[in-house]
Symmetry: none
Subunit: 152 residues, 2 copies
């Protein structure tokens, strides 16, 4: 499964293209399916992206909520409906939809932030602030590790 980790800053050119960091690119299936899904974060002024597998999982996860319930409707409309399928060109670049760019207040530069099975796109200054705050409130937090996976 894809594992996105690390942060990388890249430049958006005048045509709206950005290179996907090579380390993210190498996590995606090499054959054919060179496509990702981008959606606006419901939590922060940033964008999120993932591969097809995760989007499928997200959609499946919404089925925990009753069909036609408010939760299902809210989250489904906000994430799944919002998501755009974006293709990756021969040089490993994507074009971020203009309205998404302005939603995240992104200018010439984007910070790609690996978050495990998905990653985020931030305006660099915004992410710096966010990361500092997060690091601060992570201080003292501990992590209960899940048992090692036996799969794969």
């Amino acid at each position: 499964m894809a594992l996105f980790a690390g942060t990388y800053e890249n430049r958006i050119d005048r045509k709206g293209r950005v290179s996907l960091p090579a380390d993210f690119r190498s996590e995606l299936p090499a054959d054919g399916n060179r496509v990702i899904y981008i959606y606006r974060s419901p939590k922060a002024q940033a964008l999120e992206a993932c591969d097809r597998v995760f989007m499928q999982r997200l959609a499946d996860s919404l089925e925990q909520y009753d069909l036609f319930s408010d939760e299902e409707d809210d989250l489904g409309s906000t994430i799944v409906a919002d998501a755009r399928k974006v293709s990756i060109d021969g040089e490993g670049r994507i074009v971020v939809p203009p309205e998404f760019v302005s939603f995240a207040d992104i200018g010439e530069r984007v910070t790609f932030v690996g978050r495990g099975s998905r990653f985020q796109l931030w305006k660099p200054e915004d992410f710096e602030k966010h990361a500092a705050a997060a690091r601060n409130s992570a201080k003292g937090r501990t992590i209960r590790l899940v048992p090692p996976e036996s799969k794969e």
Copy 2:
């Protein structure tokens, strides 16, 4: 699974390369996946490193928290986002990102500290102090052993 133990001190060359201690290297999968993840410790002024399996486990562990929750965000932004994928060259060396080097106040020499499924990188003098303090406060502590694993 990888088992890193012991401490080793190595030299960083002018290109930023350090040899991974041979005993650590031999714990990594020989085929292909010759890569490790390095991140800044949320607890100490030191770096931590692990193999892909552990980073995946860490990312999986964060899924105990709901997607878009504060806990998931804080810890994800601090660890997974902070991590850098670092490749191991033919001679068993890695390049430690410069900003990480300065975070840990590392100069020409690094101390590698085995911590089981991960290991740490310290400025030698700092680790000495830390180790002394830890040894002192470990006095009297006990360990509840888990039952021997039956797998593999």
